[in-house]
């Protein structure tokens, strides 16, 4: 830009942004550097460079998939004397009927990591997984629990995990946000940046059913041809430049001009990135693209790989349908069929591209499900029962990124209700994810109202046992 604005403010501007005019977003506070997305090295030695979080919304049943319980199996249909606290008693689960698992969960591969026959593709990559079997959250409702998984707390609006990581590490690709979330649900707080600079907010991506539909909000305008838009864009920038020339240069004005440039470029760059047609048939097949049950999640996982490969620090893929309150035996296989191949395909694809070592993949719901059955109707036979939410213990797996491969950590009691060893609270899980990225969860903070906030709130310990 050659505008003759005050040399002084130009100098001030340059002092505040070491990246010159490459800033995507600007924030007036000293703790928000002029280019918050510039990549910066982590404090600690990093095992992983980026994260792909496969979020199974609704709460997959850990005992049906990963943590078999003989006691429950043996007592199927009968009441068990479970240690359920009074405050968690619920009419539809009050009988505490043990609900056995129909499809077996078996040890797999060399490592013996236990996985259900419902997840054959995942079972085949068992030796890559680090299975946590005693993960614990604090709330048994979807909203607060999902919020805690994503932001560390069950209420308020705090920065989400992806935002913290983007804030901690910046992005490796200046044409893209540091945090993208594919198929997010309706809760915007799950990818919000809250008090962190908005540049760290997750950008939602919805893979279009039709090729013409935009995958990113407001990316295109079907009513205006590109020549007309270009003319308007140029007119706006001429006006903006005149304003700067007229005595009004400041950091924000420069940032706004840059932001408009970036947006204009994104209109042409982003569609190419979300276009999966260039991938080989073999790759598409690996993810189950084209398959009736697996197409949507397969495309989402493949896109996650592309974005991650392009340098996006945190990519999330949300797969819903895990909230099996009724007929879990009928419904769980469907959710598994939709998620199994895409998730396993992603691991294999990352592996074959040599990306798995530096990419941490995390697979989890916001909580698990009770070992005893739930019957909302009050009249169904046990075979048609479902399971209620259970935050006290559930299963999460990780792959790549410096976690131990082919490893199981944590044990639950004989009911599969509470951890007896190797408990990993969500704060611990968050601390560990940050640690693998080279970030110290107690030092990755943002000061607001005099307090240093962090993802792990006031607790959390790195789970060293699961680090390779």
């Amino acid at each position: 830009m050659t505008a003759p604005f005050s040399s002084l403010s130009r100098r001030a501007w340059l002092q505040r942004t070491s990246a010159g005019f490459g800033a995507m977003a600007l924030h007036g506070l000293a703790q928000g550097a002029a280019n918050p997305l510039a990549p910066h090295p982590p404090r600690l030695q990093a095992r992983a460079k980026r994260v792909i979080f496969l979020y199974m919304a609704g709460g997959p049943s850990q005992m049906d998939l990963f943590d078999p319980k003989p006691l429950i199996q043996k007592n199927h249909g009968h009441s068990v004397a479970a240690p359920l606290p009074e405050k968690d008693k619920h009419v539809s689960t009050a009988k505490l009927l043990a609900l056995g698992t129909e499809i077996p969960v078996r040890p797999r591969g060399q490592s013996g990591v236990t996985i259900s026959d419902l997840l054959p593709h995942t079972a085949a990559i068992a030796d890559e997984l680090c299975l946590l079997r005693a993960v614990q959250a604090d709330n048994n409702q979807h909203g607060p629990a999902a919020l805690q998984f994503h932001t560390g707390v069950t209420a308020e609006a705090r920065p989400s995990m992806g935002s913290w990581i983007s804030y901690g590490l910046g992005t490796e690709n200046q044409n893209l946000p540091g945090f993208l979330t594919i198929h997010p649900g309706i809760e915007t707080r799950l990818y919000g940046s809250s008090f962190l600079p908005a540049a760290h907010q997750g950008t939602p991506v919805v893979l279009p059913a039709k090729v013409t539909d935009p995958a990113i909000d407001f990316l295109t305008d079907a009513t205006t041809d590109s020549a007309t838009q270009r003319r308007r864009f140029d007119f706006i920038q001429r006006m903006n430049r005149r304003l700067i020339e007229h005595d009004a240069a400041d950091v924000r004005l420069e940032g706004m001009v840059q932001s408009l440039e970036t947006a204009f470029r994104m209109q042409t760059a982003a569609p190419g990135l979300v276009d999966l047609s260039k991938e080989t048939e073999a790759t598409k097949k690996l993810y189950g693209i084209g398959g009736k049950a697996t197409d949507k999640n397969g495309r989402a996982c493949l896109l996650a790989r592309r974005l991650s490969e392009a340098g996006v620090r945190f990519v999330q893929v949300t797969m819903d349908g895990w909230d099996h309150h009724g007929d879990i035996r009928g419904n769980l296989p469907k959710s598994c069929a939709a998620a199994d191949q895409p998730c396993a395909g992603l691991i294999r694809d990352l592996q074959s591209r040599g990306l798995l070592d530096e990419t941490l993949v995390v697979w989890s719901g916001e909580f698990g499900r009770t070992p005893w059955s739930q019957d909302l109707s009050g009249t169904s036979p046990i075979e048609k029962h479902g399971r209620e939410h259970q935050p006290d213990s559930f299963c999460t797996w990780m792959a790549g990124g410096g976690g131990k491969a082919g490893f199981m950590h944590g044990e639950t009691d004989e009911f599969g209700y509470r951890p007896v060893a190797g408990r990993v609270h969500l704060h611990d899980l968050h601390a560990t994810i940050l640690h693998l990225l080279g970030l110290d969860h107690e030092h990755l903070t943002w000061r607001k109202l005099g307090r240093d906030y962090r993802l792990t709130d006031v607790s959390g310990e790195v789970v060293r046992e699961i680090i390779a």
Partner: protein, 819 residues
């Protein structure tokens, strides 16, 4: 397991003698201490962490105990928290947290405690953690009384227009800085109009002011703006940012807050009427406890307490105790932040780390809200809901009620009639021999549909009965009580009872007496609204200052504590606070003073003032006006105003629940889930109403044209924030380039300009500039715009070309900034 040999019989004897036997010492050293060291010290020792305030590395540590009292009672296993914790007997008290100890270790600890817990270690390790020192804490400037200050003398006597200017100029002069030049007349007019009303000035207002910008003209503008309804709308929205307001309750499902709008309208009226701020405080904290002369006043008082309940609450939690504690916490935090600039929320779990606020202070106020009805358990599943009170009936309610009854009666009649008609047709079907003609079959289907529609209407009307006005509000519980403090905020781990009371560090008198059977909210309100309160007026005037000058005199507007920012102009802050109170807590008088100052007229450009740029780059001494990005509401409202389509002030419910199809889950049955909203039909007028009146939802994107909020830094309703973020991200630029809303407003504006058929294109361009940028167009711009129109639509510029031009202006930085 190895059989454990019981060693304590010897110890007991030794203790009876008043000394520790060497055997006891050995047992402790060999068996007990290693367990404590290995299992507990990491979190409970002076060398490690001191979680929950508990240390176990000295006898005095467990004797004093943590926040919940002594960790163990020698000889009494069942009263010893440490034993309870290691036994994992209580779900919320399990230590160590990661895994239960082996049975053998638990046995050793049990036997040790049973034997009287002989502990040979040095008696005490000097406590690393000190309690709250109130007297020392009070020395912080914000807890000192407000001083009556006088404007200081200045050298440049011509510059100040009022006292505010004298304070500012004196600081600038002593720093060797010059105040900025005056902004152009149209810049001041745009600035003051947006700041006071959130709207741009009209073409006529601009013309009138620019023609003669005399001092009286400035005053006339400010007075006109203060008198406008738009002023109340603007400042009501500012206050809503401190409330966590939404028309949705909680975040689980889509539960409507169908009465929330009454609080929003209450704010609107309060700001418009310039209700004294002390009164405004009392109404919101304790309106239900205030006397009222008329039913109307009683109504306002009740609605005002919506402040307490209109926040995020987890109403679908099974754990109701935790839900209630969390809600109380959000209320204590909100009162602290909104009125006092104090962060009380931290103190739920521990004494404040920086400010002299102890758990006693937190639970003193928490007990008042715990003694207040703010939620109730519904009979729908496990749902709770926010408390509501019936409002005193007004004549218009009676009219609405009778109208409502009339409708219901008509619908019932219609339904009966249709049912009577349907019955024989259905009865006939029972006869297998009967063949139904196609016409009859069609008629029967129609009747069934009509009946179903009527039933839906009736169920809907019975649920939303307009004849029974209610407000989301509060009342005292039957048995108000003090609250016990909790360990790290856990409602199941309770410590000592804390008497209800106020925050000591900001008190000037003894704790007030709370009358029996009262929550104490009235005493809380009286304390906050007292002229002697060191924080209330300062926080309030600072909020107003920030809205007008872009940054507060205390830049951390929501936090005046130790770690907050110090005031840049402490004497001015006190002057304003004192004057605010003296002038009857009048916000309008305060705004008038600020808006008519010389400082408020300064240019926002740093310009060529190199000396000031070097010495005060952050503009802390205010040598030029700060620029602000228009907030989401102003961006949308300004486009509406420019297009000439802005609807008259509305008020009333935001969510269009009057359309039965927008409400699911009715009629209620014994097994019903809570009815929820799913907006399928929008009220068409809402596209043209000010953004304030559009519903605010807590989950998902904002509805309809309110979607713009999500793009331009509208705070999440769960956030309490006096100063919004002003971010610059590409998403905003994409929105400006491509969003349909911008195109529609541009099309409306283009249409309006073209409707004046006699206007020439240059005069239309001039009007376009006045409407969007609120200033005269320059010659260069005029030429550029004409060329743009010609390029876009060769020949005669058509509506499409004008739309593109208007769209372009809405995308400029000049439109987006108030400078």
């Amino acid at each position: 397991m190895r059989r454990y040999v019981h060693p304590w019989c010897l110890v007991v004897a030794a203790l009876n003698l008043g000394t520790l036997s060497s055997r006891a010492v050995d047992v402790f050293r060999d068996q007990v201490e290693p367990i404590l060291r290995q299992r507990c010290y990491e979190c409970h020792s002076h060398a490690g962490k001191i979680k929950g305030g508990l240390t176990l590395d000295s006898p005095s540590g467990w004797q004093k105990g943590g926040e919940s009292g002594p960790a163990l009672v020698p000889g009494a296993l069942d009263q010893s928290r440490l034993i309870k914790a290691v036994r994992y007997a209580t779900p919320d008290l399990e230590m160590p947290p990661k895994a239960k100890l082996p049975a053998s270790e638990i046995a050793i600890l049990e036997q040790w405690v049973a034997a009287g817990a002989p502990d040979p270690r040095v008696a005490a390790i000097v406590a690393a953690k000190k309690g709250v020192d109130i007297e020392a804490g009070r020395k912080h400037w914000a807890y000192q009384p407000v001083r009556e200050t006088a404007p200081p003398p200045v050298r440049n006597k011509a510059w100040p227009l009022n006292e505010v200017d004298a304070f500012l100029l004196a600081k600038l002069e002593s720093a060797g800085l010059q105040p900025g030049a005056a902004a152009e007349a149209h810049t001041w007019l745009r600035r003051v109009t947006f700041d006071l009303t959130g709207l741009p000035p009209t073409e006529a207002e601009i013309a009138a002011f620019i023609a003669a910008p005399s001092p009286q003209a400035h005053e006339r503008v400010v007075d006109r703006l203060l008198d406008s309804m738009a002023y109340g709308e603007r400042w009501a929205r500012h206050w809503l940012d401190l409330v966590g307001y939404a028309e949705q309750i909680g975040t689980e499902g889509k539960i409507f807050a169908e009465h929330a709008w009454r609080y929003r309208d209450y704010l609107l009226k309060s700001f418009s009427a310039d209700k004294p701020f002390d009164r405004f405080i009392r109404e919101q904290i304790a309106g239900d406890l205030l006397p009222a002369a008329t039913p109307q006043e009683r109504r306002e008082n009740l609605i005002a307490t919506g402040f307490i309940v209109l926040g995020d609450v987890d109403i679908n939690s099974i754990d109701k105790l935790k839900m209630e504690y969390d809600f109380v916490d959000s209320q204590v935090s909100k009162v602290g932040t909104a009125f006092l600039g104090m962060t009380l929320g931290c103190v739920r779990c521990h004494d404040h780390k920086f400010d002299a606020i102890g758990q006693q202070d937190y639970y003193g106020i928490a007990g008042m809200f715990r003694s207040t009805k703010t939620t109730f358990r519904t009979n729908l599943g496990i749902w709770s809901n926010v408390y509501r009170v019936p409002l005193p009936e007004m004549p218009e309610d009676r009219a609405a009620a009778s109208e409502h009854q009339k409708h219901l009666a008509t619908w019932h009649q219609e339904k009966d009639k249709l049912t009577a008609e349907l019955k024989p047709l259905e009865a006939a079907l029972k006869d297998k021999a009967h063949t139904e003609s196609p016409e009859t079959k069609k008629h029967r289907a129609e009747l069934t549909t009509q009946i179903k529609t009527l039933e839906g209407k009736i169920a809907h009307a019975e649920y939303f009965d307009p004849g029974k006005p209610q407000a989301l509000a509060v009342a005292d519980v039957a048995e108000p009580a003090d609250m016990r403090l909790t360990i790290r905020g856990n409602p199941y781990a309770q410590g000592d009872t804390m008497p209800r009371g106020l925050v000591r560090v900001a008190m000037w008198a003894p704790q007030p007496q709370i009358p029996a059977r009262q929550s104490g909210r009235l005493q809380l309100a009286d304390w906050i609204a007292d002229v002697r309160h060191p924080l209330t007026a300062r926080v309030a005037v600072n909020r107003v200052w920030q809205k007008l000058f872009g940054e507060g005199l205390v830049r951390s507007v929501d936090y005046f504590g130790i770690r907050g920012e110090s005031p840049t102009h402490p004497e001015l802050l006190d002057y304003l606070a004192h004057r605010f109170v003296k002038e009857g807590w009048s916000q309008k008088k305060l705004i008038r003073l600020l808006a008519l100052s010389r400082a408020y007229r300064m240019t926002s450009s740093a310009g060529e003032n190199a000396h000031a740029s070097e010495n005060d780059p952050e503009n802390r001494l205010l040598w030029h006006m700060n620029r602000q990005r228009l907030d989401a509401e102003s961006i949308r409202d300004a486009m509406l105003a420019a297009s000439g389509r802005l609807a008259a002030p509305a008020g009333g419910p935001g969510l269009p629940l009057e359309f039965p199809e927008n409400v699911s889950g009715l009629p209620l049955t014994p097994k019903s889930n809570h009815p929820q909203f799913a907006i399928k039909t929008e009220r068409p007028s809402q596209n043209y109403e000010r953004t304030l009146y559009l519903p605010v939802v807590r989950t998902g994107t904002q509805l309809g044209s309110a979607r713009l909020r999500d793009v331009f830094d509208f705070p999440q309703p769960a956030q309490i924030t006096g100063k919004r973020n002003e971010t610059t991200v590409p998403t905003q630029s994409l929105y400006l380039l491509n969003a349909d809303l911008i195109r529609q407003r541009a099309a409306d504006l283009a249409g309006d300009l073209l409707a004046a058929t006699k206007d020439s294109d240059p005069s239309r361009i001039a009007r376009l500039w006045l409407r969007v940028l609120n200033r005269p167009v320059t010659a260069a711009e005029q030429a550029d715009a004409l060329a743009f129109l010609k390029d876009t639509s060769p020949g005669t510029p058509a509506a499409a070309a004008w739309t593109e031009l208007a769209r372009a202006l809405f995308g400029t930085n000049e439109f987006l900034l108030r400078y």
